[in-house]
Amino acid sequence: MTRVNRLTALAAASLVVGAGLAGCSSDDKKDAKAGGPIAVTATDKECKVAKTELASGTHTFAIQNSGSKVTEFYVYATGDRVIGEVENIAPGLKRELIVELAAGSYEAACKPGMIGSGVRSTLKVTGENKPLTDDAALAAATASYQKYVQSQTGALITKTGEFVDAVKAGDAEKAKALFPIARTYWERIEPVAEIFGDLDPAIDGREDALEPGQEFTGFHKLEKDLWDTKDISKSGPVADKLLADVKLIVAKANSEVLSPVQLANGAKELLDEVATGKITGEEDRYSHTDLWDFAANLEGSKAAIAALRPVLEKKDAALVKTLDEQFAAAEAALNKHRDGDGWKFHDKLSKDDLKTLSDAINALAEPISKVAAVVVKK
């Protein structure tokens, strides 16, 4: 968390776009009747998709996790635009994903360990597509992002619940391991969370940002109990409140449709978060798990831009190319600090490491700051 929400003023406008949306998506809908769900078998190394050439229309993927790690399943359009995803599929579980696919090329991805770009295969979808009008394209962008938010919020509740349980059970090691994982889902969608003014500080406020009379609660209070005071015997009530607050904000977030400008600004603000909080190590000052948050902010920013991609490609293809290059460069810079399924701790990074990351974020955030104006350009 950082700042007072700047987006509420735009909320009214976003509702209009939301209203236009339902009409648009039903326009394109064709019932593919593809003959039942498409089986996906996910292991720790593989992601077998039973059918990869599809007719345009609605499809159901049935994902069976036969591996030993928790996995995720994604369907991406060009530029990693999320068409649909299922998070947090535990070993042994089977989950379904229903997506509507227009003609084009897609990628299916399993992410064992829920990290990295995953094991991918190409999906070819054929059929007829009607070109979208500008307004319809913008509406599709916001709808696409809303789907993304909903997928993240589900996992956020689950993982926060596991974290809270570990804290209450007095299992500090387990809680420490779950802390950055639960935060990942939070950090990916933080611009949405920030819309709901007082819940954001309750969930993600830092001690130094408190106003007199405000109580220190949320993730960072538990972080302090775990890493600094090393006493979670009295943390139960704070843990319970965190989960309750998260459930509350999720209910609100799921019904919120961001405007295209909010989406664009959200993508930029996520990088602002990285620049001011994560690179400096201020966000997770006790646990030093800032790079998990960094990666999540970057993923969230990319998801917002990916949702806008069809609109941007039409209006400023050169900007899209620059963004692709700079996202790839930022990811490459970050990936140097991967450690197993996670990341190096912030206090293990040298000043040179941090400067390289800072340069990569500056290089990406400047072109991203231009997206909002391009989106509204007629």
Partner: protein
Amino acid sequence: MTRRRTVLGAASLGIAGVAIGAVAGDMASDSPSVAAASTSDPVAFHGEHQAGIVTPAQDRLHFASFDVITKKRSDLVDLMKDWTNAARRMTAGRDAGQYGATGGPGEAPPDDTGEALGLPPAGLTLTIGFGGTLFRTADGVDRFGLADRRPAALADIPRLPGDALEAAISGGDICVQACSYDPQVAVHAIRNLARIGFGKVTIRWSQLGFGRTSSTSTTQATPRNLMGFKDGTRNLKAEDGKVLAEQLWVQPGDGAAWMTGGSYVVTRRIRMHIETWDRTSLDEQEQIIGRHKGNGAPLGKRAEFDEPDLAAKDMAEDAHVRLAHPDSHGGAQLLRRGYNFVDGSDGLGRLNAGLFFIAYQRDAHKQFVPVQRLLAQKDTLNEYIKHTSSGLFACPPGVRDDKDYWGSALFA
């Protein structure tokens, strides 16, 4: 196009109009050395030589050293063109980008950062230089196919006695010197160039200077450094004519042809132990420097510009004036353009203060290096100073016209 000064009152609008006219006129002529008529006027950006060298030294400095982070030569050339366009605009008192600080679409961040709105050009000059690492990195990598274009005169400055150089604030691939009569105008220029450069270059280090310590024209009075002495009395000056060709500007046949009409700049951040200096008696201070503190006259002489008598018994063997004098170095001279700095305090109850030394010359290895070697060996002043950063950059000739750009001959 936005003109910063349109927000000024009616009285200044008249002046602004004249100033803009003056820029347009100057662009055609090769006269960057022409002084701005007043401290708010623009200095011509185009010319045979870059502005900001013999231009009468403005009062304020923001100097920045950049490292290039892109791996693509085309990115680097594009940046030089973008920077040149922005520099051309800002030195004329205009915003850095086409829309300006307030003229663009509301949904976009402004293409100028805005802090110079309402301020005049204030004599802003922007001077670029290329460091040795641009041609070949310290690890020996030729990133941009420039290695064979590195001038011999751009060889690294050898380590000199007493050097306490910090790598993090030394060197760099590209430097930009911003000088202005208004500190905000100088900072605005560097800030906007840095912003334009994101993804291609990154600031390695930068230095603010709040007061000039040299005069580069006979029209200027000699200022004082933080030791309280007049500095740069015997400096190379814009009016020195043939001496400038001999000592300042790179001549045809000097080496790399792309540098003809350019100059080499040496920067040294010199921390001064001003607290111990201030406890030194007046007589001793004057003997160390070799000049009277009051009017700047050489010891044994009466007026500031009297020629120092190196044979006089008043002049100590190791007086700074004697050691730095051209007669001690086969006639070698420098065009000094340094600035006083105070970078806050040092946590030990002392000001972090000193001189950011800047000197332009035809060949640093024949001019700065031998002079500094002698000073480093013998100068009593060394007890009161410490060199903490060093840079050597090749400053190409001037940008000729609207189609030309910084370093065009190097990248051609």
